[in-house]
């Protein structure tokens, strides 16, 4: 049996010395993951970029069209701008409602003491329930003669067509989506609240800070890393909204609930326009990248890290 590799000592901590044997072992361990990343992430990404420059029906001969798909998307397709507007509207409303509600509920649950975890589980159930099941249940509730309108009828109110009225359909999707997704942010913000030292709040109280002052001057700044994480993830998720409009409204009425991913899916798999669908996918990728980059550029200004 050979001796173990020499241990290097740095900062008083023993670390295994780098050796070619360990390097190979590391590569072997990493290889499956890297291979998966290359095959399932990098390769499709590059492939979609290439396909976006073709007029490519699923069956039939692909034809190179250069940037035509992008030009058509930006200048010749009014539906693209509609779905982009819908997606932005959804993203802004969903993110704001989700974060505000999640923060309020997380603070409330934090104050409940031993009952907090019980309610936290209740709020988290929709997150782990399949989106399709949730959407179908909501569809049944929101139909013209569904549970919601039946309840309103008992109050003497004639309920509207939640999914057929173009003025209400998007709002219905946002409400359903907030209900579905709020639990995740409640858990993250709850963990952030738990990490705030009670000494800080106690010190603020001794200094004469009221409840609102303690919330805005102590809790929110200390919670800002969690809030930042939730904001980034919620915005990214909201741009990818698909299941809700696909199952509840099919993008209708008109194009009022049509989103980029739904439009992309239809172009690719229903209308046989793989090239155009790939161009839409890249447009979505660029938009999400830009927004995420903007958020990270403001991170130092907006987020308060303890250290």
């Amino acid at each position: 049996m050979t001796a173990l590799p020499t241990l290097a000592v740095k900062d008083g901590v023993k670390r295994p010395a780098a050796s070619s044997g360990h390097g190979r072992l590391a590569v072997a361990y990493l290889a499956p993951g890297m291979l998966g990343f290359l095959i399932f992430i990098v390769l499709p990404l590059v492939a979609s970029l290439v396909i976006s420059m073709f007029d490519w029906p699923l069956f039939g001969t692909p034809k190179f069209v250069g940037l035509d798909n992008y030009i058509r998307m930006l200048t010749g397709d009014p539906v693209f701008w509609t779905v982009l507007g819908n997606t932005l509207f959804f993203a802004v409303c969903y993110t704001v409602f989700n974060l505000v509600a999640a923060l309020g509920v997380a603070v409330w649950l934090h104050s409940l003491g031993s009952w907090g975890p019980f309610f936290r589980v209740l709020f988290f159930i929709p997150v782990v329930t399949p989106m399709v099941a949730n959407a179908l249940v909501w569809r049944l509730m929101l139909t013209d003669d569904g549970v919601i309108n039946s309840f309103l009828a008992t109050l003497g109110i004639h309920g509207p067509s939640w999914l057929s009225d173009s003025g209400l359909a998007m709002g219905s999707l946002i409400a359903m989506s907030v209900w579905q997704g709020i639990g995740y942010n409640i858990i993250v913000l709850g963990a952030g609240l738990n990490a705030i030292s009670p000494n800080l709040l106690e010190a603020a109280r001794i200094d004469g800070a009221g409840a609102w002052q303690r919330f805005f001057r102590v809790v929110l700044p200390m919670l800002s890393p969690s809030l930042f994480f939730c904001t980034v993830m919620t915005i990214i998720g909201s741009f990818k909204v698909f299941t809700q409009p696909y199952l509840l409204t099919l993008g209708g009425p008109g194009d009022s609930t049509n989103t980029i991913v739904l439009y992309l899916y239809r172009n690719g798999f229903s209308f046989d326009k793989l090239g155009y669908a790939s161009a839409l996918a890249w447009a979505l990728f660029v938009i999400v990248m830009l927004i995420t980059a903007l958020q990270f550029s403001q991170q130092k200004r907006l987020v308060n890290y303890d250290n």
Binding site: S161, S164, S166, G252, F271
Partner: protein, 418 residues
């Protein structure tokens, strides 16, 4: 031995085991090796299986074919009808795809790159295609070549609830029905929580397109979309107005399948519905009250039938086309088609088998279908028809609510589906 060598050997062994497992799996799913000598794919069919009713229908073809060839079998796979037209394209491009697929006259153009011309095989196997419904053969002919062997030829009909009509004092319609009488009847029927007409959001599923067809207006002319021809626009607007202005039906939601209006009809909440004869057994046996059928109303009362039949085709990726065609021949004989028509209610594509379908059905109902078969024309479409259907379903809510006109909607759809 070093730890590294042990790890290396373990990794190598794991890789070999994984490869071996992969190879075995691959062998297990090999496309050859069926006991009959034909490939497994040649006796596999990709089709719509929305529910047990669909599965039972396909099984009826197998059972009927087995009477002549006990060794015959057909394995089935596929999604629901609504998902079928999207998924069939990706399924046929994957390895081990079934050779036989179901198609429709209305989708023959759209699926032309997925299916192979059958003319040579028809000739070499001495198959007599003249026995099949001419409208279906015309509809299944793409660029001069036949793309499928039809098993049914189903003219869309108008179902009505006899009890509700009697209660409203409305005379039962028959083989001659004008749109003005239809509108008047719907008005008389819409009361006490009952709507005159149950309305789906789709285009082909009506009511606009079947009524346009009844008047001789078609959505395709010379192989190109012609959605804005004034006849079609007028008929579609008539259908929108029945709901938006006259309030004779509930405006559908885009996500409603055809099952939603069918449920309205079956539960007695709607007195009439336009649907295919394939729903005959379901609608006549499960509806509250007795059900009859009539022709689709037209301006003159004389109705051109919109024939919405289906067929069996062979996928372009099939390696054993001849064997697949021989299997199709076994399930499209007049005997098999007649037996399925008798057992499952599909209107046979072979005229001589229509008597099997007629069975013990009321003579008035049989007369309606036969009249529509006689006058019928196939719903011929274009390769972008799925886009037309999808967009119409998405946009039709605005038409049925009166916020957009038929002209606006059909123009938008035609421009996007060019």
């Amino acid at each position: 031995m070093s730890n590294n060598r042990v790890t290396g050997k373990l990794l190598t062994a794991a890789a070999v085991a994984a490869l071996a497992a992969g190879a075995l799996t691959a062998c297990g799913s090999s496309s050859t090796g069926s006991s009959s000598g034909e490939s497994k794919e040649a006796s596999s069919m990709y089709t719509w299986i929305t529910n047990e009713n669909d599965r039972a229908q396909w099984q009826a073809f197998v059972d009927a074919a087995k009477k002549k060839d006990p060794a015959f079998n057909l394995t089935l796979e596929g999604p629901s009808f609504n998902d079928y037209w999207t998924k069939v394209k990706t399924r046929l491009s994957s390895s081990g795809a079934p050779c036989i697929i179901t198609t429709q006259a209305a989708r023959a153009q759209e699926l032309k790159d997925l299916t192979v011309p059958l003319d040579d095989m028809v000739k070499s196997n001495n198959m007599d295609v003249s026995m099949y419904n001419k409208a279906m053969i015309d509809g299944l002919t793409v660029d001069g070549s036949l793309r499928g062997i039809p098993y049914d030829a189903e003219p869309v009909v108008l179902y009505y609830n006899k009890d509700l009509l009697a209660a409203a004092g409305v005379q039962e319609p028959t083989t001659n029905y004008t749109t003005s009488k239809f509108a008047a009847d719907l008005k008389a029927l819409t009361k006490d929580g009952v709507m005159g007409l149950a309305v789906p959001p789709g285009f082909g599923s009506g009511p606009g397109l079947p009524m346009a067809f009844a008047n001789g207006n078609e959505p395709v002319k010379d192989g190109k979309l012609d959605l804005t021809n004034q006849g079609l626009v007028k008929d579609q607007q008539f259908a929108f107005d029945l709901v938006a202005k006259e309030k004779l039906g509930n405006a559908p939601q885009a996500s409603d399948g055809t099952d939603v209006p069918e449920q309205q009809f079956m539960s007695g909440k709607a007195a009439m519905i336009i649907d295919g004869p394939w729903m005959y057994d379901t609608l006549t046996t499960k509806t509250q009250g007795k059900v009859g059928i009539a022709v689709i109303p037209s301006t003159s009362g004389e109705s051109v039938g919109m024939i919405q039949g289906s067929a069996f085709a062979i996928g372009a990726s099939c390696k054993d086309k001849e064997a697949a065609f021989k299997n199709i021949m076994k399930i499209t004989t007049p005997e098999v088609i007649g037996a399925v028509g008798a057992a499952r209610g599909t209107v046979p594509s072979v005229e001589s088998a229509v008597k099997d379908w007629a069975g013990t059905k009321p003579a008035a109902d049989v007369a309606v279908v036969q009249a529509l078969l006689k006058s019928g024309r196939p719903l011929v479409t274009t390769p972008s028809w799925n886009q037309v259907e999808t967009n119409f379903t998405q946009y039709s809510g605005e038409g049925f609510r009166g916020t957009k006109t038929a002209q606006e909607l059909l123009s938008t759809i035609m421009n996007s589906a060019k």
